[in-house]
């Protein structure tokens, strides 16, 4: 027998049955890796299994078919408990604290890059891989960083700022070098019948997008009605419960004779403060629960490009450390800076420097 000195590196690919992760598995196989496909089982009940978008039962069937056509082993692994604890429970808790959570960031951090990575390493994987549109680069200072693409509309770097150095070292994201169109073309050229599938929706565990209803049905908390107040604290109306509002929101507030927007939410007083459009602009933010990526620490004040929501444009800002927190001052006022969302700071070429949760 020939000695297996050139043993292939094993990569476990998180497969959703969609175009991106399917092509990701294909590319890695072409590159000579020992590719294993895994679908993470995160759905909590049958409703979710059937229409849970990227992670439902039909996703498993699609992923299995793709894995078969690529001739790679395929497994379904159970992450229901982790998903419930670190994503769904967190999502509910945050709303009742008057904050607006980002469940995708929580899922990436705790389910994909803690539970899934750990399990994969147990299965003798050298790397895990995902179909994210982002690049992982090793920088001159020796650190790993996610590099976002400013031009790519599909850039998903924002939701990945929380990855640690160890996690980045163990991760491959081969799609970072391609556009969505190129990926669809590859899918077609290798005959994947997922090539025309629509992109997955926003929040996989709320398929009907009715957050209020989901929060009501999935928690013991009670949504209590309370006061709408103006920016001076005067009562101007009654709200249905703080969970139904997010900073910057205009719709569903009622009639006030002029356009009104949610400026902030005070869970202690059970109050929702409303103001005019210009009242919801802020010059600065503070974030905590910091993850450092391209740089190990912030020395003095540094120039950054900041993103405060997935869909938001980059804004010029300066950041500095304040104990365990980061203070970010924008060059121009920013609209609807929302507690619970994340602030991610890039350098001018797109490397993520660091990020944290907006307080």
């Amino acid at each position: 027998m020939v000695a297996m000195s050139t043993k292939k590196k094993r990569v476990i690919v998180g497969m959703s049955g969609g175009v991106d992760s399917s092509v990701c598995a294909h590319i890695l196989k072409e590159q000579g890796y020992d590719v294993v496909g895994v679908t993470m089982k995160i759905w909590q009940n049958d409703d979710m299994a059937n229409d849970g978008g990227c992670c439902g039962l039909s996703a498993v069937n699609d992923a299995r078919r793709v894995a078969d056509s690529l001739s790679i082993p395929f497994y379904v692994l159970d992450f229901r408990e982790e998903f419930k604890k670190t994503v769904i429970d967190y999502f509910i808790r945050e709303y009742f604290k008057g904050r607006t959570p980002n469940p995708c960031i929580a899922c990436n951090r705790h389910v994909k890059w803690e539970a899934f990575l750990e399990k994969s390493l147990g299965l003798e994987a050298d790397f895990i891989a995902t179909g994210h549109y982002a690049k992982i680069e090793r920088l001159e200072n020796g650190r790993f960083a996610i590099k976002g693409s400013f031009e790519n509309k599909k850039d998903q770097s924002y939701a990945l700022y929380n990855l640690t150095q160890f996690q980045l070292e163990k991760t491959l994201m081969p799609l970072g070098n391609y556009s969505k169109e190129e990926i669809r073309d590859i899918a077609k050229s290798i005959g994947l019948d997922v090539a025309n599938k629509p992109d997955s929706q926003e929040i996989c565990f709320i398929p009907d997008n009715d957050y209020g209803n989901f929060l009501k049905n999935n928690s013991d908390y009670e949504a209590l009605t309370g006061d709408f107040v103006d920016i001076n604290g005067n009562k101007i109306g009654t709200h249905n419960g703080i969970i139904y509002y997010t900073v910057g929101q205009r719709k569903g507030l009622g009639a006030f004779g002029k356009p009104m927007f949610v400026k902030n939410i005070n869970p202690t007083k059970n109050e929702v403060m409303l103001g005019s459009d210009s009242d919801v602009f802020e010059n600065s933010l503070i974030c905590d629960d910091i993850n450092m990526m391209a740089i190990g620490e912030i020395v003095g004040e540094i120039d950054v490009l900041a993103k405060t929501r997935y869909s938001q444009k980059l804004a010029k800002a300066k950041i500095k450390k304040d104990g365990e927190r980061i203070i970010c001052n924008f060059l121009e006022p920013q609209r609807a800076i929302t507690p619970g969302q994340s602030a991610v700071f890039y350098d001018e070429i797109g490397n993520i420097l660091c990020g944290g949760t907006i307080t």
Partner: protein
């Protein structure tokens, strides 16, 4: 890459000679057994022969054997059929909490339709206590359905005693013997079994064929309405080649049962002894004494069965963490929980089921690989590290 198959409780490799005959029958004996002409009569003869072969291994009469599409179908038919046919007598059914889902889910279905079901517990060895059975009997009890041998932990139930109790109380007794046929002696008369389900693919026959034994005199509603096949109780043109293959496989197995079981038992004992000796904090689940010769169900503390299975698969070794029918769901096995095992330990369980094609060499590879896998997974397990640090 290895190609080692240790999941014979999930299904078995079809025998070479059974397969060859089956293919020949499919090609040549294509007549409909209900037709009067020669090729139809030939097909009918195959069914008749298979009926005798299956009856023989159960010590039953050929007229008491009805072919079905699977063991699960046979269980469904038996339980739903008796429930309906004896509705006037009562609405209470007794079963155990370690049954296969073919039985459990059928019972749950009946519960939603006006029947009452008692799920007997098992002792820590995985055996139903006769006293519990006696206590559960009511005037309106119409059926006792308790499996012959369990599919996950291989424990063999006291069928003769159960049959005796059923007979004394005038209650019909059905047993799911899918795992037991060919692995243990069965005599439906001596054991007072009224209905019995079996499946071809568990005994080196093809998939898609099962049979239900129904004692003469027991009333059983038809299961599928249509033509006159299977005495008009299970209509639909018969799976002739498959049924003939079931009969063939059963006959071959019957002739060499003792020899096969001895070989399988020796491998089983070797694997159990070595694993328990080499891997600390491991335990055998279910009685060792009252157990199918080919079944091992073993728990390794501090690790998950799922990772263990996948690593074995990557080494070319097929085993299972529970029954094949539930491993898709990843919930801890209801059988292991019924033994009183904690969720954690139930999760760290592995079923190794040995068949007649397994060799000592394969057993040795399994032991070596498994020892390394458990070691690796424990090294990565926070539970294990906490435990070791406390020692």
């Amino acid at each position: 890459m290895n190609k080692i198959y240790f999941d014979n409780a999930a299904t078995t490799r079809i025998r070479e000679e059974v397969l060859r005959e089956m293919v020949t029958n499919l090609a040549d004996v294509y007549g409909n057994p209900s037709s009067v002409y020669k090729t139809g009569r030939e097909a009918r003869a195959l069914l008749d022969k298979a009926r005798v072969q299956v009856a023989n291994i159960l010590r039953a009469d050929a007229s008491e054997i009805f072919f079905t599409g699977s063991g699960t179908e046979a269980d469904n038919w038996a339980i739903r059929g008796i429930a309906k046919s004896y509705k006037d007598k009562g609405n209470h059914i007794i079963t155990s909490n370690i049954e296969h889902h073919a039985v459990l889910h059928t019972c749950e279905y009946l519960e939603k339709n006006g029947y009452e079901v008692t799920y007997l517990p098992v002792n820590s060895d995985g055996i139903v206590e006769i006293e519990d059975l006696k206590k559960a009997i009511r005037p309106e009890t119409i059926l006792i359905t308790i499996m012959f041998a369990n599919n996950e932990i291989g424990t063999i139930q006291p069928i003769t005693e159960i049959g005796k109790v059923a007979k004394e109380n005038g209650i019909i007794f059905h047993t799911d013997a899918v795992q037991a046929v060919g692995a243990d002696e069965i005599d439906v008369n001596a054991m007072n079994i009224d209905l019995l389900a079996l499946s071809a693919h568990k005994l080196h026959g093809p998939k898609g064929v099962g049979a239900l034994y129904v004692r003469k005199g027991v009333k059983l509603e038809p299961f599928i309405h249509g033509g006159k096949q299977e005495a008009g109780k299970r209509a639909g043109t018969e799976n002739v080649a498959g049924i003939a293959a079931l009969g063939h496989a059963v006959e071959l197995l019957q002739n060499e049962m003792q020899e096969k079981n001895e070989k399988v038992l020796n491998l089983r004992n070797m694997i159990i002894d070595e694993l328990l000796e080499k891997i600390p904090y491991s335990r055998l689940n279910g009685s060792r004494e009252h157990r199918l010769p080919g079944n091992i169900n073993i728990s390794f503390e501090f690790i998950e069965g799922e990772s263990m299975l996948l690593l074995l698969d990557m080494k070319g070794i097929a085993a299972s963490s529970g029954s094949a029918c539930t491993s898709g769901s990843l919930d801890p096995s209801h059988v292991l929980l019924a033994l009183g095992l904690s969720h954690e330990i139930a999760h760290g369980s592995l079923r190794i089921s040995i068949g007649m094609y397994n060799t000592e060499e394969e057993a040795k590879i399994l032991i070596t690989e498994l020892e390394a896998i458990v070691k690796r997974l424990r090294e990565m397990s926070p539970l294990w590290n906490d435990f070791i640090n406390k020692q």
